[in-house]
């Protein structure tokens, strides 16, 4: 295919105006297992499906706390994600040391995007092969951002990335108008419902392969523990977005 002529490195444009190496890096994100985020006026929830390399192995964690007010969920190369995670944590620590307050979320995402873009404009570097969903709360409000290997970043009301994420996004498109005023519990149930759309037929959600992280205006970032996850997965049977509309 003609594509192969222009995809050797980041510093070569294709005649159609594409940088193929960057596009290939975005493919790596699409191969990662699904993670999604959704926000209301008060809270942000991150849900991800954890992969188990083999029966003998543990499950790969996909959500990392950056600071009390911020966390990320990753899809793609975990090693690259660790680098960005370390960078974000360091920046938050330094900001806190200098100003004794939390790093504004959008600003940190901007810094990550700058860092990512840098890697797309050099002959000797490659883009980061990981997409992040950054959930955070600052005086400007409740935020959910997505970053790409290309160095772009976007703010979302809800978003899903990774493998089979389109199914989750379709669920979001139908129901995102309810999220703004949802309670934390409703938000978590929406997130789990969306993930359920994206799993394979023979898989099922359980407290081992699902990871849920929550963040609120007065709630520091925490993961739901195994018991809480079991409870929510049970509640999922009775939950339907229609019932939420009837309540309002």
């Amino acid at each position: 295919m003609l594509k192969h002529l222009y995809d050797t490195d980041c510093v070569t444009w294709s005649p159609q105006g594409k940088l193929f190496q960057v596009e290939y890096a975005m493919e790596a994100v699409k191969q990662g297992s699904i993670c999604l985020g959704l926000k209301s006026n008060e809270n942000v929830v991150l849900c991800s499906l954890k992969r188990q390399p083999s029966e003998l192995a543990g499950y790969q964690e996909k959500q990392f706390k950056i600071d009390d007010h911020m966390a990320i969920a990753i899809a793609g190369l975990t090693a690259d994600a660790r680098v960005l995670c370390k960078y974000m944590r360091t920046e938050c620590l330094e900001y806190k040391y200098t100003y004794e307050s939390h790093h504004p979320v959008g600003r940190l995402v901007f810094k990550v995007a700058e860092k990512s873009q840098h890697k797309t404009q050099s002959g000797a570097k490659r883009p980061y092969g990981v997409g992040l969903l950054v959930a955070g709360i600052d005086p400007n409000g409740v935020h959910l951002f997505e970053t790409c290997p290309s160095g772009n970043y976007y703010e979302y009301k809800c978003q899903a990335i990774g493998s089979r994420s389109q199914a989750a996004r379709t669920y979001f498109e139908s129901w995102f108008h309810l999220f703004e005023k949802s309670t934390l519990e409703q938000l978590i149930l929406h997130g789990l419902s969306a993930i359920k759309k994206a799993i394979m037929e023979d898989e099922e959600l359980n407290e081992k392969n699902v990871e849920v992280g929550i963040l609120g205006k007065n709630l520091k970032f925490t993961h739901l523990n195994a018991q809480e996850l079991r409870d929510y997965i049970t509640k999922l049977e009775q939950f339907s977005p229609n019932s939420q509309i009837q309540q309002e």
């Binding site: 040391y97 200098t98 100003y99 004794e100 307050s101 959008g106 600003r107 901007f110």
Partner: protein, 236 residues
């Protein structure tokens, strides 16, 4: 003499201030904070620059004044304004809060103190952010304190009693201003390096308001002065 090694290329450390500003008094009131400073820069014991407007607005809702070496004050104003301006490049409308400035200045002062080359200042940062009043004091060592009232220089010795007796944190703006004017009256009488022209500024929900300099009322027409009744005349 501190100018001895000017040509030897050695770095000088601040050992004494040259041009100094006077005391600063800042009080919280119901709905904001008000700061007062006189308009004098002294060159040692000479009252050299008599109408210096010292209250600097570093951002929309933060003001900064200090007593001590005036060139250090000017440099700190540049440093703080730099932070505010560099916030613009992120395009997110987020600006540092008054507390952020206070903490930054505390760390800056502490760093300089550790190098034995201090910013020869006692700093006051005042502001109003998200419905909360803020008053911070950073001294020459980098000590950082937040409080409802803050004084620097000689005001710390002469004026705290006046403030305790006539001010509370929920008084009105006019009451707080009056207390500050009283304090500067006393300072003018007792502090050799004080001046009777002061400047007030306050920060509230609407933003920063820096007023024109005003002269404190002083009274010199005591009958004892005019009649000189108690003077003993020296006669041969």
């Amino acid at each position: 003499m501190i100018f001895n090694s000017e040509f030897s290329g050695q770095q000088q450390h601040t050992t004494q201030p040259i041009v100094t500003g006077g005391s600063v008094i800042a009080l919280a009131y119901k709905g904001g904070v008000v700061v007062g400073a006189d308009t004098l820069c002294s060159y040692g014991s000479m009252a050299d620059f008599k109408n210096v407007e010292k209250i600097a607005q570093v951002s929309k809702n933060t003001i900064y004044v200090s007593s001590g070496e005036f060139s250090d004050f000017q440099q700190v104003v540049r440093e703080l304004a730099k932070i505010d301006r560099s916030a613009l490049q992120y395009d997110d409308g987020v600006h540092p809060s008054p507390r952020d400035y206070g903490n930054y200045l505390a760390r800056l002062s502490y760093k300089r103190r550790c190098k034995i080359n201090p910013l020869y200042l006692q700093n006051v940062i005042a502001g109003f952010h998200n419905g909360e009043r803020y008053l911070g004091l950073v001294d020459i060592y980098g000590t950082y304190l937040e409080s409802n009232f803050v004084t620097t220089g000689f005001a710390s010795y002469f004026c705290k009693a006046i403030i305790s007796n006539y001010w509370n944190e929920n008084c009105t703006l006019d009451q707080a201003k009056q207390v500050i004017r009283e304090c500067f009256k006393v300072l003018f009488c007792r502090d050799c390096r004080a001046h009777d022209v002061i400047q007030l500024a306050y920060v509230d929900e609407q933003g920063t308001h820096i007023e024109q300099p005003e002269r404190v009322e002083t009274k010199w027409d005591f009958s004892g002065f005019k009649n000189r009744a108690n003077e003993k005349l020296h006669t041969q």
